[in-house]
Amino acid sequence: MMKYFNPFVLPFVLGTLVLLGICVFKYIRWYMAFDRVQRSKVKKNILSWKFLPAIWEAVLECLFHRKVFRRNLVLGYMHSSIAFGWFLLILVGAIEAEVCIQGSKPFWVAIFYRFFVHEHPTAVSVVFANIMDALLLIVLSGVLLAVIKMVYSKIVGMRRVTKHVLFDRFAKFSLWFIFPLRLLAESYTAAYYGNGGFMTQALGNLFTPIYHEYVEIALWTMYSICLAVFFVSMPFSRYMHIFTEPFLIFFRRMGVTEGDEPTGFTKYELSACSRCGICIDNCPMDKQLGVQGVQSVYLLRDIRYKRGTEEVANQCLMCQRCSSDCPVGLDLMTVRRQVRTKESNIDAYGNYSYTDNIQAFNSVGRVVYFGGCMSHLTPGITEAMMKIFDAVDQKYWYMDKDRTICCGRPLLQQGFLKQAKDLRLKNQSMIIKSKAKLLVTSCPICYQSFTKEYNLPIKVMHHTEYINELIKSGRLKLRKDDLKVVYHDPCELGRGCGIYDEPREVLKSVSNLVKAKDEKEKSICCGFNLGSTVLTMEQQTKVRDAAVESLMYKNPDLIATACPMCKKAFNHATTLQVKDIAEVVAENIIDNGQLTMNN
């Protein structure tokens, strides 16, 4: 055993123990802070088939960084060359030690292998030495890219990089130094013993004339200290994401989700954020408004370090653009909402006694139609829906025609959880009592609420889905004209609920659909998302104008959208016609009655 000991390994050994100790302590404590629902999900699914895809996902995301590669090849290479490269260095190093050293040995031998093993007993070990050199070269290339990125981020396709706190920068530099120091130490040893691979030996040969034992020990000591510094700072810096992301992937696969209040799971999410800053570039707050320091990366950091966050949390459109970009797939909107949470006992605003008089309507065989508060401000949409229901002879109950109860989501977005819940319960009981089998809504905000925040026993459809089904089943006959129409993806319907194709299919069947510059996940918010609380009108219109510009890309004749909010926003921005899909469809209905009369 003493054969493989030198005092310089102590920092590394201690650092490793501290790292593991802190991580185990934190992970257990966070898990203990899961709420009842979250914990029951884990217990139920911990030994199920859901584990297998989680392993594959963890490999794809944590090692290969698939989503980062998708974003930008160079950025993907930078991340995975360091992460996956280092992982391989450790793995191959361990195998090398296992293969080349007989008998028992301490675990640090693999890390300081060249220092302890000076000869190449077999050809295999020569191969190992060269493989290790190649891996180190890959990691070094990643570090070089990271250094270049710091001054010229365009090389990895990023407009802006995260402004890190001092401690993160300290951790980052300690990480960067590990690999050049390893190269130097290994080369220096190779200079005397000739045990290096192609790179360390070549460099070592240059050192041969100046070799001195003390220098060798000093270099290895520095390497060991650097490792220790990084390990000890890791649990407190952004590099905690390295270990946390796999945990998060497993929990997510087990069905654990964020709740209204922060729990231990939120801690996992906060620590899984690598602060890569990918969320910054396309954030309308930054890109269109130049407001910095409020993006998800900063919010999560501030929450984690318990800095003042409410102001940052409010500076957001909740357009979910960052959620769709996040390589870790964090639930950024819910985390932000948790910070927005206000006191729940504001009675004046939570007085819903008026809803007591609103009663359900027996709707057996009918569709329940929920226009939504915003659709009441765009009556063109609700009128068009009435026309469509009539055209297909579908009886309906217009649930919120006269006495409106909000779906609750706007309150939820602002952090009024209790009030939102009251409204949800009222609507929910009315919907259940109506005995209908299908709920159709015209508002993506309500749609997201009904599908995600309610627990409804009946099917819920946005009207674009419903119309699409009517067209496919042949119930609704439409004429197609060659009007050039561009479709704007509303945040709540697209990024929020993943509905991208149905609206496009509907539009294709009535018009000539053209592309916008930024589409689907990349669509720009109309600027008037209900999630924004503190943005000024000027700011909102700036975002809106950027969205319109993107929509004008192919010079369309008409802007179609599927959200009353977006429609209202665009109506004031352009002389072009702005219509909801329901209106475009209603105008193109081939009336069966007319057909038979003509015949």
Binding site: L377, T378, P379, G380, K401, M537, K568, N571, H572
Partner: protein, 335 residues
């Protein structure tokens, strides 16, 4: 004789043309096929209920002048400074060289369909103040099913003082117009209930305040301070409105036969377009004058003048006064 180009044959263009034509040759360009298109459909003008058509006729007769060349259906697409002269380019690409240019391209009304929550263009019972003027003129104040309305509701500030529609300014003349129209409706429909929903009533002109008082005392017009947030249709095709009475502090619902939207004034397309092309574009697309007090007809460009509601919302009397002052300033400039 010097040549002057005047762009826009509304009250401002015609009035200034008639004065300038005494000593100069005036080329009067008009985009549409008729002059005075903004007055033509009006019934009576506040504050004295004089007939709009009479005033239009009198203005029209001023065009009978050998020194005025009226060119209808001739849109001006560009105005370029050419040494001491100005080059005016029409839509057919023809150039006219003149010593001075007067822009009188005026306003257009706010498109009420942009405030979709008020239901204009969707429900027949929702009309604009312009539609109302026509209804009064031809004595056809009816609801969506051609019946005599029992309740008529006017809503002020549609597209004015409204941040969301992008117009923060006050259109200035809607307040008194609503009062005037309400009185006219009362004269036509003695039995009807008439309401005016307002934010503030700005009775700034001579006789306006008296008219407002009279409307309450003599004509039983009811005023409610508050905005209407949305309009919808009832089963019998009436208009249901949701509003807030901000003096009582209560939300309210009301069913009306006719909802009249007092639409504001915006810079016309021609005003916006020429303003930008000549480098005198100002706030909200209106043109900008050199200084607000002493040089309110001049622009930063020598020889380029402006008059009328292309500068800001104005009443007809203000427009005519402004046109006369522009004529005076231009005469001085050409001396």
């Amino acid at each position: 004789m010097k040549k002057i180009a005047i762009i826009g044959a509304g009250p401002a263009g015609i009035e200034s043309a008639s004065i300038l034509a005494k000593d100069n040759e005036v080329l009067l360009f008009e985009k549409s096929t008729a002059v005075l298109s903004n007055i033509i459909d009006k019934a009576y003008l506040f504050p004295d209920f004089s007939s709009a058509s009479e005033i239009a006729d009198k203005l029209n007769s001023k065009l009978i002048n050998d020194n005025i060349t009226l060119m209808l259906n001739k849109e001006v697409v560009d105005i370029v400074k050419n040494d001491s002269e100005w080059k005016v380019v029409d839509k057919d690409g023809k150039n006219y060289f003149v010593s001075a240019v007067l822009i009188t391209t005026g306003y257009q009304i706010f498109d009420a369909r942009r405030k979709e929550e008020l239901g204009y263009g969707i429900y027949k019972g929702v009309v604009t103040s312009i539609d109302m003027e026509r209804m009064i003129r031809y004595n056809q104040v009816v609801n969506s099913i051609n019946e005599t309305p029992k309740r008529v509701v006017f809503l002020q500030c549609v597209g004015s003082r409204d941040e969301k529609s992008g117009n923060r300014y006050c259109s200035k003349l809607c307040c008194v117009t609503a009062v005037k129209q309400a009185i006219e409706v009362r004269k036509l429909l003695p039995e009807a209930e008439i309401y005016i929903f307002y934010m503030d009533l700005r009775m700034w002109g001579q006789h306006f305040e008296e008219l407002y008082r009279e409307s309450q005392e003599k004509y039983d017009i009811r005023f409610v301070r508050g905005r209407i947030s949305e309009a919808s249709s009832t089963f019998d095709r009436k208009i249901q409105i949701k509003a807030e009475d901000t003096l009582l502090g209560v939300p309210m619902k009301m069913t009306a036969d006719l909802l009249v939207l007092m639409v504001g004034m915006e810079a016309s397309c021609g005003t916006k377009d020429l303003g930008v092309k000549c480098g005198i574009g100002g706030e909200y697309g209106f043109v900008k004058t050199a200084t607000p007090h002493l040089c309110d007809n001049e622009t930063t460009e020598q020889g380029l003048f402006v008059a009328g509601s292309c500068k800001r919302p104005m009443t007809i009397n203000d427009v005519i006064n402004d046109a006369r002052s522009a004529a005076c300033v231009i005469s001085d400039y050409l001396k």
